[in-house]
Amino acid sequence: MSTTCSICGAEIESNDAFCSACGAPVGNMPASKVPKLAGSRVLAGVFTLALGALVALLGYFLGIVPLLALGIAALLLGVMILYLAEPGRIPSQLATSVTLPALVTIEKLLEELYFEAKGIYIPAGETGVSPKVFIPLTQTQLTDRPSAELARRGRLLVKVGEAPGELGIVIEAPGAEILSQVERLSGAGIAKTKFDELGGTLRDGFQSLHVGKNLVLQRVDDTVTVSLELLSLMDLESKVRTVAPRLFSQVGGPVESAVAAAVANVTRSYVTINQTELDLPKRRMRVVLGLKKMGSAGGGSTIGEQ
């Protein structure tokens, strides 16, 4: 049995959770477990705090110092449970439903403009420009090595050569925001990081953002392999693969994209996502990136400037 999407009217299979045309969630989203978790944390905090206060008072009036100290320890633990409670995180499915429509729009754009080549992550360097991906219409020497200047222009359609097919589109990397959060946490621009330190920076950043843990980054010649265990965004990563397969194969999902953009910036190389694997039950992700050193960069002018 199939229904229609309340947003775009496209046909949806009964077992689909998201519309394959616009990415909108189908029906009511299951209630998030986050509020329940927050509620139980408050309950645990209040209980520990009250118990601690009771034991501390008992210890004080009975004159038993270890009992007083035990009460104070429990009291402090209660304060920390309540006061240092984890900041509210956006429920995974809400993050998916907010992000997916934008990715589906890019998917449609790629499909209708016949962009089929792999996206090339442009090394933005230390310019403070958010990471960009260049998707060429045709693959030529010039489109393989687009000018880094393209990332700074802020234009969508760009021309890199004189031949008719030597043009492409420059889009924001889907993982740009993840990477900027990692940069904010590490306190330094990724471009200033040495390659040997990149694995540690991404591992710490991803863990702090609750994106992933146990990140391992290995480089063999012009291939970089990154593996990690996802802590969140599983929903989004799996949906991108089904709802926006073209965008996923050309540019990657948000996590792969953040990693590719970071590697591009640190190595000053053009990066393509050559392979990506996601083991849903084990939450393991493996991304294989191809590097192409920046040499004699191609040209680059925006269509609007022609």
Partner: protein
């Protein structure tokens, strides 16, 4: 909750040694909080700031306990 486990372990160990001075417990609790904040870094800036506030409050309490002890000592000697 590394801090909590450390604090309870401190109480158990110090009580086994028969320590009867609360300021030592308080001082160690504050120290443990600062040390665990550093070793569990990187934390996001909000959490780090909150931990520092708790740590500073604990140090103030610890200083209060020390001052009280000094006052007692002065009273005894004078």
């Amino acid at each position: 909750m590394v801090d909590g486990a450390l604090m309870f372990a401190t109480v158990v160990v110090l009580s086994i040694f028969g320590l009867e001075t609360i300021d030592v417990y308080l001082g160690l609790f504050a120290l443990e909080l600062f040390v665990t904040s550093e070793i569990t870094a990187p934390l996001d800036s909000t959490e780090y700031r909150k931990r520092m506030v708790v740590g500073i409050v604990m140090i103030v309490i610890f200083i209060g306990a020390i001052l009280k002890r000094i006052m007692i000592l002065f009273r005894v000697t004078s």
